[in-house]
Symmetry: C2
């Protein structure tokens, strides 16, 4: 490749990295704002949709042994709160059960793990990227990114979604917090009265 | 600048952006791990030190009306838990009180807001970058990045530290969480039973 080509390639890479950073910064800002969890998850879905140019982004959260659709890039979807998947059903169930990412660039609907799901919002999509939502080291949900056309997922998309899965987990934990927890007057005591588990290395 | 120069410049920019992303991804991973808060803050201080090549990174947290030094890039510092600043003292106090970032590239020790602090760990540093730690929209501490030599802080450094300030705030809130909170069986209910505050836009 000549230098002009290289400059262009670098510029595109810089733009993508800046976008990726911007998503993290915006989610971080969501973490410190006082918003309803439903609004916050919608905002996350919007950021992921913008970054991946996907046709649908869905967040499922666990209710006992079932995954419930809790946020969708279609904010008015009648499926919200209605679609429920068991953990042994579909790619989404597989991701939650196995705690592993799945990336399928085309014909996702033909995947054997998909076969019994003819009536789900995932059904008409070629490409499917899915990661677990993790809180305190446990799976508590799944995020899916879906494209109608074939789409080879980039490393940046996979990395971003993995981190978003962790951040959504934190948002869920934060939402469980009593609103007055920050009224606590002594934050330093949390650290100082609970010294490191690992002994400091002598320098 | 010729094309070779531009390619080199772009490569440096890409490397810095990748580093910045890596810091966020690593802090995100810290958020889902089960670690003591002291260990987690030390890990954050280490990541910030690596990114900014600073000579000292310090985290102060509030105990009532005082800021207490809770983490330091010198993990064995005898000042940990000992150095206490009032909110009307020093640049660190100013940042907490005003909820604003301060970036001073040189002679930070000459800043009027600094003058009464001859015995603090900040004292011998030329450059000083400081941001508030925010949790639930309140200031609960301050993070300082200090260089012995003059240092013009980059936009990336300021942005990174601002976001780290928010993430440390989240880590503090998460640490207050009862360990069994994630044992809750219904995460979906948190969203579904508390619909968005803003009405969805009809499409």
């Amino acid at each position: 490749m000549n230098h002009v080509g290289k400059v262009k390639e670098s510029e595109a890479r810089i733009q993508k990295l800046e976008q990726q950073l911007s998503v993290f910064q915006k989610i971080s800002r969501l973490m410190v704002r006082e918003m309803s969890l439903a609004d916050t998850l919608q905002a996350v879905v919007h950021l992921v949709t913008e970054f991946t140019h996907c046709d649908a982004c869905l967040i499922y959260l666990l209710d006992n042994e079932e995954l419930v659709l809790c946020a969708s890039s279609n904010a008015n979807s009648p499926d919200l709160g209605k679609v429920r998947l068991k953990l042994d059903e579909g790619l989404t169930g597989w991701v939650a059960r196995e705690r592993r990412m799945v990336a399928i660039p085309s014909e996702a609907y033909k995947d054997a793990r998909f076969k019994s799901f003819r009536d789900l919002p995932e059904d008409t999509f070629e490409a499917f990227l899915s990661v677990p939502v993790i809180a305190r080291n446990r799976v508590i949900g799944v995020i899916n990114v879906q494209h109608r056309q074939s789409h080879r997922h980039s490393g940046a998309e996979m990395e971003l979604l993995t981190t978003v899965g962790e951040q959504v987990g934190c948002l869920l934990v934060l939402a469980r917090m009593a609103p007055d927890v920050i009224e606590q007057k002594n934050h330093a005591g949390l650290v100082i009265d609970n010294p490191p588990i690992t002994p400091p290395v002598r320098q």
